[in-house]
C-alpha cells in the first residue's frame, strides 16, 4: 500500500485508527458482479457525512453529546437535485463546512449526472443516501439501516452503489 492512510490525521486519531485496523477480521468478503456494462448502470451514492435535508428530520447530535459512545444509526434519503442550499451536515467528527459550501465535496450528485451525460454511467438513481460516520455500536446500522437502504435501492432498480466517506 503506497498511500499513507494516516497522513492527514492528528497523532491521537492516527493511533486509534491503526488499533482499529489491527482488530478487524475481513472473513469472507461478499462480491456481486456488475449485471450490465457500467455505461448502462443506474448508480446511487451513499455518504457517511451525515447529510440531511432541511425539510427532513435532523440526525440526532444531542443524543451523541449525551452519550458519546452512541451515534445516530438511521439513514436519510437525498433526492437527486438536492443542493447545498437544501441540507446540513450533522457529522460531529468531520468539519462540515466544505460539504455545506459545495455538496458535491461529499455527495457528488451533479458530478454523477455529468458522467452520465458523458456516457460513463447510464443514469443517476432518483434517490441517494446518507448516514452518520463514526457509529461505534453497529448492530442497528448493520441489522436494520443497511438492509433498509439495500431494499430501497433494489426497488429503484439500482445497478451499482458508490460509498463515500465523511
Amino acid at each position: 500500500m503506497a498511500i499513507d492512510s494516516y497522513r492527514f490525521l492528528d497523532f491521537a486519531t492516527r493511533q486509534l485508527m491503526k488499533a482499529w485496523a489491527a482488530r478487524e477480521d475481513p472473513g469472507v468478503i461478499p462480491f456481486t458482479p456488475l449485471a450490465r456494462p457500467l455505461r448502462e448502470c443506474t448508480v446511487a451514492l451513499l455518504t457517511t457525512s451525515g447529510v440531511a435535508r432541511n425539510d427532513d428530520r435532523p440526525f440526532d447530535q444531542d443524543g451523541e453529546r449525551r452519550n458519546p459512545w452512541w451515534g445516530d444509526p438511521s439513514f436519510r434519503t437525498i433526492p437527486l437535485g438536492t443542493t447545498e442550499k437544501d441540507v446540513r451536515l450533522y457529522h460531529l467528527h468531520v468539519d462540515p463546512r466544505f460539504g455545506e459550501a459545495d455538496l458535491d465535496v461529499v455527495l457528488p450528485m451533479r458530478r454523477l449526472a455529468e458522467l452520465a451525460g458523458e456516457g460513463v454511467v447510464g443514469r443517476p438513481a432518483p434517490t441517494h443516501y446518507s448516514i452518520m460516520g463514526y457509529i461505534l455500536e453497529q448492530k442497528v446500522l448493520v441489522g436494520t439501516t443497511a438492509p433498509g437502504i439495500a431494499a430501497r435501492m433494489r426497488a429503484e432498480r439500482v445497478d451499482a452503489a458508490v460509498l463515500l466517506p465523511g
Binding site: 499513507d4 492527514f8 448508480v43 466544505f98 458522467l115
Partner: protein
C-alpha cells in the same frame, strides 16, 4: 462504511467505496475499494473544483467495471495541494467531537475506545 458496503453487496448490489483511510476500510474486508490521500471532510476534492471532483468520482466508478473479485483495491493518483498541517489548520475552529471531550474528563476510558468494549452508563 465498510460494514454497510458489505451488507449492500451481499444484498445483490455491486458497490465500490472511496476511502481516505484505506488501510482501515480494507481491514474490514470490502469488495471494491479506491484509496485516496485527501483530508477528512473533502473526499471528492475542494469545494467548487468540479473538474477535480469529477475525476475522483470517475476513477472510483472505474473500479466497478474492472474489479473481478472481492478485495479489489486501487490507489488513486490524485495529490492534495496542501500539506497535512495546512489542511488540519483549516479546521482548527471545528469543535472536538463529544468522545474527545469525554476522554479529557475520563482518560481511563481510552482503553474502551481502542478495544471497542463500549461502557454502559459512563457518558
Amino acid at each position: 462504511m465498510g460494514l454497510v458496503q458489505r451488507v449492500l453487496e451481499a444484498g445483490g448490489i455491486p458497490t465500490v467505496a472511496l476511502s481516505m483511510i484505506p488501510a482501515l476500510t480494507r481491514a474490514v474486508g470490502v469488495p471494491r475499494l479506491a484509496g485516496i490521500s485527501y483530508p477528512m471532510g473533502q473526499p471528492l476534492g475542494r469545494p467548487h473544483d468540479a473538474d477535480g471532483q469529477r475525476a475522483v468520482l470517475r476513477a472510483t466508478l472505474d473500479l466497478l467495471a474492472t474489479a473481478s473479485g472481492p478485495d479489489s483495491y486501487v490507489e488513486l493518483p490524485f495529490e492534495w495541494p496542501e500539506s497535512p498541517a495546512r489542511a488540519r489548520n483549516a479546521s482548527r475552529n471545528f469543535p472536538p467531537p463529544p468522545i474527545v471531550e469525554l476522554l479529557k474528563r475520563k482518560p481511563w476510558l481510552l482503553a474502551n475506545l481502542y478495544t471497542g468494549r463500549i461502557p454502559h452508563g459512563e457518558g
